[in-house]
């Protein structure tokens, strides 16, 4: 069933040569949506059902050492509550973005390529969430990375787009490498050190399940250096994909791609795969407490760190991109603290309201042809739907009840807060995450006010704005509904059980909805404060100009320059590495080849010198004969007997 879906997605890529290719893609993604909803609904109505389909892909035979029982690589699908949830996100957002693209991408060249790549992405992403083992997970993980690479570089004539695509691939590649090492470490951990009956884990192909039951982290137990390193490596992989500090640099640059791509890949699905990976790992494989601290630290820090950069950016898409990094930080934080389900819940809601924000931003860009917030203004009049959608997304992001973001973000903060007693080391990161709530509300409404409030565009050369076609509006409306409603899922009677079943059996504290009312109130007040500040500075067409002499001006420069991370990475990536490469090239050409040529010259010189003895004068030749005779005598009478006597024969 699910495998068929992947094939449908792949087959879809082949049909895109036609003029109406976009609609074909929409149709296929619609079919996928139906399948996804069916699966999701099935899990919701009958939670705790695990459906495993599995084939052996490769049998590599036994390997003495770490894998004495042999290694099999399998492919298969595992449908469980969390994968169903993810699949729902992917198919819903995928379908809506496809639909939206019909309008948004209308004027672009290379549409067959666009739809083919997008379809391939959807197929790969679906495969990723349904994978039943780490290897398959990694396989699709790489595939979505490549799709992302091509889609970021969709406008490949633009050097900045080509460069951003490369950057995205490379930075995530760093993460991938760590991920792969993490896989190996977990492999060996469960192949050798696992409890009885689990030794065959590796032989079974590293699947998450044992028969029809999931392997769960608690059954492994224990702390070890190996497991710690493995966890850090998995975190590295996730950090690359989910753009966590310090591998966050690629995501803002990835905004070079079409906005639809940003919405689907770089907001809702692919970047969330990192969080999904962490969640899956924490549920099935287990993190040590040190790992957890590191993950919490990374997540908490990223949350705040990315939010600060969003505060000053003039580009509407990049503001949302930083926001994505920041929100992903929340999820990482939650997973790290042991609340995988909570993190996934935020992932779920975030996918909808962030896709909404992007699509709304896309609508704006479609209308005015620029991404610079400071050129826009007063757009709420000609674009009512978009303005409303952006506002709903913003409210959800800011965490204002009853919008979806409130429920999930509040849950994260609450869960973390409940852990502070046992883990005082989490305090600073809790505070950072808490502070980020304020920043989040501020920057997203700064963007809203800049774009939509006021009387008209600040740059009068902008074209007259108008709302997009219905194919663009429908997704906005649907996503708006989801941005409001998806958080309410928390009140679904089965929802608790649904997610608990993923975790409860594992013995992970099923903390869910343990929000402290006081804490919730504080965060809502903080968010409201952020919105108010934004109104104060930017509302109603105001433009807040920071005096260059102000004390915070250097901070602003620092933020605008993204803490100089990009500069530093560029330096490493080009200057440092290329210098080493040039040096190596020099060694190759002059030292190694030079040595060889030196030998050549030596022989040539020897040849030249020896040639001289061939003087042409016969008396010389006779002299050589005599010299040779004497040499033979020396050899025969002295050297040979001496050598034989000392070395002892031949």
């Amino acid at each position: 069933m699910v495998a068929a879906f992947a094939i449908v997605g792949l087959a879809g890529t082949r049909l895109k040569r036609l003029e109406w290719g976009g609609w074909v893609a929409v149709a296929f993604s619609g079919a996928a949506l139906v399948v996804g909803v069916l699966i999701g609904a099935g899990e919701m109505l009958d939670p705790g059902r695990y459906t495993v389909v599995q084939y052996t892909w490769l049998h590599l035979g036994p390997a003495p050492g770490v894998f004495p029982n042999g290694v099999s690589l399998v492919v298969g699908t595992l449908v469980d509550p969390i994968s169903a949830l993810m699949l729902l996100v992917v198919t819903v957002v995928g379908f809506l973005v496809m639909l939206y693209s019909i309008g948004y991408m209308h004027h672009d060249r290379g549409l067959p390529r666009y739809y083919a790549e997008l379809s391939l992405f959807l197929a790969a992403m679906s495969g990723l969430v349904l994978a039943n083992n780490l290897l398959e997970f990694f396989l699709f993980w790489e595939l979505v990375g490549v799709c992302s690479y091509f889609l970021i570089g969709f406008y490949y004539e633009k050097p900045s787009a080509a460069s951003a695509a490369k950057e995205a691939f490379l930075v995530t590649r760093v993460g991938d490498v760590m991920f792969l090492l993490g896989i190996f470490l977990y492999f060996s951990r469960y192949a050798l050190a696992g409890p009885a009956g689990l030794g065959g884990w590796a032989a079974n192909g590293f699947v998450f399940t044992n028969g029809n039951q999931p392997f769960l982290a608690s059954s492994m137990g224990g702390n070890s250096t190996l497991l710690t390193v493995a966890g850090i490596m998995i975190l590295g992989g996730a950090a690359g994909k989910s753009a966590q500090f310090p591998l966050h640099v690629w995501l803002p640059d990835a905004m070079e791609g079409p906005t639809t791509v940003s919405a689907l890949i770089h907001a809702a699905t692919m970047v969330a795969a990192g969080v999904y990976l962490l969640a899956v790992t924490s549920l099935f494989l287990g993190f040590t407490s040190l790992d957890q601290l590191v993950i919490v630290a990374i997540g908490g820090f990223t949350t705040f760190f990315a939010a600060t950069m969003a505060v000053v950016h003039p580009d509407i898409k990049r503001v949302i991109a930083y926001s994505t990094i920041s929100q992903l930080g929340y999820m990482v934080l939650a997973v790290g603290a042991g609340f995988a389900m909570v993190g996934l819940f935020h992932l779920f809601t975030h996918a909808f309201f962030k896709a909404l924000l992007f699509l709304a931003a896309g609508s704006v860009i479609h209308a005015v042809g620029t991404q610079d917030l400071f050129k826009m203004g007063g757009l709420r009049k000609p674009m009512r739907v978009t303005a409303a959608a952006f506002a709903i997304g913003g409210l959800a992001l800011a965490g204002i009840p009853p919008f979806a973001g409130f429920w999930s973000k509040d849950d994260i903060l609450g869960s973390l807060y409940s852990e502070l007693g046992t883990h005082p080391a989490y305090w600073p990161f809790f505070l950072l995450a808490f502070a980020a709530v304020f920043l989040t509300a501020y920057y997203i409404f700064r963007a809203w006010f800049l774009a939509f409030s006021g009387d008209g565009p600040r740059d009068p050369t902008l074209p007259h704005a108008h709302e997009g076609p219905w194919v663009m509006q429908v997704p906005l409306v649907v996503l708006s509904a989801l941005a409001v409603g998806s958080g309410l899922l928390i009140f679904w009677p089965n929802f608790d059980t649904l997610l608990l079943n993923g975790a409860g059996a594992a013995g992970i504290p099923p903390v869910f909805g343990t929000s402290d009312l006081l804490l919730s109130a504080a965060s809502v007040i903080l968010a409201a404060g952020g919105i108010a500040l934004a109104w104060r500075l930017w509302g109603n067409g105001r433009v807040f100009v920071l005096a260059p002499t102000s004390a915070v001006a250097p901070v602003r420069t620092l933020l605008l320059n993204r803490y100089y991370f990009k500069v530093g990475y560029d330096w490493i990536g080009t200057r440092a590495v290329y210098t080493v490469a040039r040096a190596a090239d020099f060694v190759d050409q002059f030292v190694i080849d030079g040595t060889v040529h030196g030998f050549e010259r030596m022989f040539a010189g020897l040849s030249e010198r020896l040639r001289r003895i061939q003087s042409g004068l016969v008396s010389d030749y006779a002299a050589y004969v005599v010299a040779g005779l004497l040499a033979v005598f020396v050899l025969l009478l002295l050297v040979a007997p001496y050598l034989i006597a000392t070395v002892g024969g031949k």
Binding site: R612, Q614, G616, L617, V618, S619, A623
Partner: protein, 105 residues
């Protein structure tokens, strides 16, 4: 016959060989070279004679007869040498081996 001072005789022929070889190394005139070759050849012939005499009996006779053969051979060899001298002289106008160094290196 066995009390021949054989060491002395061999020393003599060795000296003869040395003289001949010295001549070959130092002379530049082809004719003189031929003479030097003959001198050194005679050292070998003399050796056969001494040793023949020293060994005596049938083995001794072998040496003597070899000496006779070698004398004939030496003559043949010199004749060929002279033929080359003549040809060389006709073509090059000289029999100085120093002048014949066209082939070298």
């Amino acid at each position: 016959m066995t009390d021949l001072p054989i060491v002395g005789f061999v020393a003599l022929s060795a000296a003869l060989l040395a003289i001949g070889v010295f001549g070959i190394l130092t002379r530049r005139n082809f004719i003189l070279l031929l003479i030097a070759i003959e001198i050194s050849m005679n050292a070998a012939i003399l050796n056969f004679v001494y040793f023949g005499a020293y060994l005596g009996g049938t083995p001794g006779l072998t040496g003597q007869s070899i000496a006779v053969v070698l004398v004939g051979f030496a003559a043949t060899e010199v004749a060929v040498g002279l033929g080359i001298v003549l040809a060389l002289n006709r073509v090059k106008g000289t029999i100085n081996v120093e002048k014949a160094t066209e082939l070298r290196f």
